[in-house]
């Protein structure tokens, strides 16, 4: 059971995010949709939000031991605070590549339960990719984050750590 406050918080972010995506696409200039500029804008928004969020969330936590510790934090505490659930599966090749699997991604559950609207999914994942990248960046990790969906609302986020 969720309290009214919890439902309101969740719905607020979800709806605001939807408006953000449509806002970016509506105000897109010539060619920006095709050349991916809109996706970049959303990703950059997510990046700045991720930086600020991580600063807030790690204010009272203990120091992280290593990279894996940080990724686990993203999958559990961070994901729970933002999306009210944990990442369902974390896999890594121990060489800097992590795959975060969310079987019921909150930003996609209202969209479809399979393949309908699949071609639009990437627009709704860009912000979250930036969120992860921004959060990691503020923790001292440079990365590239991409997402893929084959059947909604499950999706995978791939994090590639950049060794400097």
């Amino acid at each position: 059971w969720k309290t009214k406050q919890e439902m309101a918080d969740e719905a607020l972010f979800l709806l605001l995010h939807n408006e953000m995506v449509s806002g970016v696409y509506k105000s897109a200039e010539q060619g920006e949709v095709e050349n991916g500029r809109c996706i970049t804008k959303l990703e950059n928004m997510g990046f700045r939000v991720g930086q600020g969020l991580i600063e807030r969330f790690t204010k009272d936590t203990a120091r992280f031991k290593d990279e894996l510790d940080i990724m686990k934090f993203i999958c559990k505490d961070f994901w729970t605070t933002v999306f009210k659930k944990q990442i369902d599966n974390l896999r890594t090749n121990h060489q800097g590549i992590y795959v975060l699997q969310d079987n019921k991604f909150r930003l996609l559950t209202q969209m479809s339960a399979g393949k309908q609207y699949l071609e639009h999914a990437s627009k709704y994942l860009a912000f979250t990719c930036g969120l992860i990248r921004g959060g990691l960046s503020n923790l001292g990790i440079k990365s590239i984050v991409t997402a893929e969906v084959s059947s909604m609302p499950a999706c995978k986020f791939q994090v590639m750590i950049q060794k400097l």
Partner: protein, 139 residues
């Protein structure tokens, strides 16, 4: 009450530094600069040291003839350095800890300010006045 407060970015350049009294500013800048090495040492020695490695507060970094330098590193690798007058014996460890917590809280607020671009010098007046409240007042 501190005589100098500094916020250093993870790339080791100052985001904010203020000292009081403002003469001898260079001396304090130099002190903060030297303390960065000590901070790095403490962080890398985390595994073997007696210091609780999960804590953000680093404690006393090093003492000089007239001053004591304390450090604190956030999870986002931002360092806070505080210099206090040695003669101020009334200042206890948990007071220093709480000063750092206040700094950390204000820094977090700065991060969430839409007019602040991460990596820039901190120009927030709110942050300024918080720091003023913890520094030695010179009439």
């Amino acid at each position: 009450m501190a005589v100098c407060v500094a916020v250093i970015a993870k790339e080791n350049y100052p985001l904010y530094i203020r000292s009081s009294p403002t003469e001898n500013e260079l001396k304090f800048h130099y002190m903060v600069h030297t303390s960065l090495d000590v901070v790095d040492e403490k962080i890398s020695a985390m595994g073997k040291a007696l210091v609780d490695q999960r804590e953000l507060y680093l404690g006393l970094l090093y003492p000089t003839e007239d001053h004591k330098v304390y450090g604190y590193v956030t999870n986002s690798k931002v360092k806070f350095v505080m210099v206090v007058d040695s003669s101020n014996t009334a200042l206890r460890d948990n007071e220093i800890r709480s000063m750092f917590r206040k700094l950390h809280s204000s820094y977090t607020d700065v991060m969430c300010n839409p007019f602040y671009n991460p990596g820039d010098r901190i120009q927030s007046r709110a942050f300024d006045s918080m720091v003023t409240s913890m520094m030695v007042q010179v009439c």
